[in-house]
Assembly symmetry: C2
Homo-oligomer: 126 residues x 2
């Protein structure tokens, strides 16, 4: 089977709570992690919750990164979904895990878009 | 174990290609699917690719929905991630699958944020 994409679901525990509650910093880390992997940024949308927590997404040409944080638990749920062979989602995942000062991470890679025949990916942009 | 969230990874095949290439329509279907599940919309960001394909995200108070479409393959990769017990991610997933006129879907639910003790969710907004 041929897959269109690779999707990492990362459970990131033991992070610095102050980092996880800083919306601007989280946004920067997520964007930088995408760039570190060589992705092209298309859209960025983040939301700060009260009393705490941040949710956000970085849409990239190659698919997306998302994050939801629970500072009170030191926990972040991160997804890194990339299409094509040009970039490696683990590069972004490893980058942000380091920046969050995580103590423990469990991550699973899931193949997305399975086809019998080889398939192409979106390659150009508006 | 107690989970913070439920995350559906849906592989949606045999969709109407015209729908999958219509960015505004995709956005409306994704937002409506979130509303159909009872979610609160926080951020919406979509991107149209050339020559075809749409990527987008709906950030909700309860986490997010994302989509990436390949009209040429009739395929859409959809994620519906919800936290808490108030809404059911399958309500959104079933809604959008119907709207895309999908012929075949494979979907997996993954638990996110596992803790030994019961855990709370983000409940309020800025």
């Amino acid at each position: 089977m041929n897959a269109l994409g690779r999707h990492i679901l990362a459970e990131i525990y033991g992070c610095d709570p102050a980092i996880l509650d800083d919306s601007e910093l989280i946004k920067k880390i997520m964007v930088d992690s995408a760039l570190a992997a060589g992705a092209e940024i298309r859209e960025v949308a983040f939301h700060k919750f009260s009393p705490q927590g941040v949710s956000g997404v970085v849409v990239i040409s190659e698919s997306h990164l998302t994050i939801h944080t629970w500072p009170e638990l030191g926990y972040a749920a991160v997804d890194v979904f990339t299409c094509g062979d040009r970039i490696n989602p683990w590069d972004a995942c490893n980058y942000l895990t380091e920046k969050f000062k995580a103590k423990h991470i469990t991550a699973t890679e899931v193949k997305r878009g399975l086809f019998d025949q080889p398939v192409s990916v979106k390659v150009s942009n508006l």
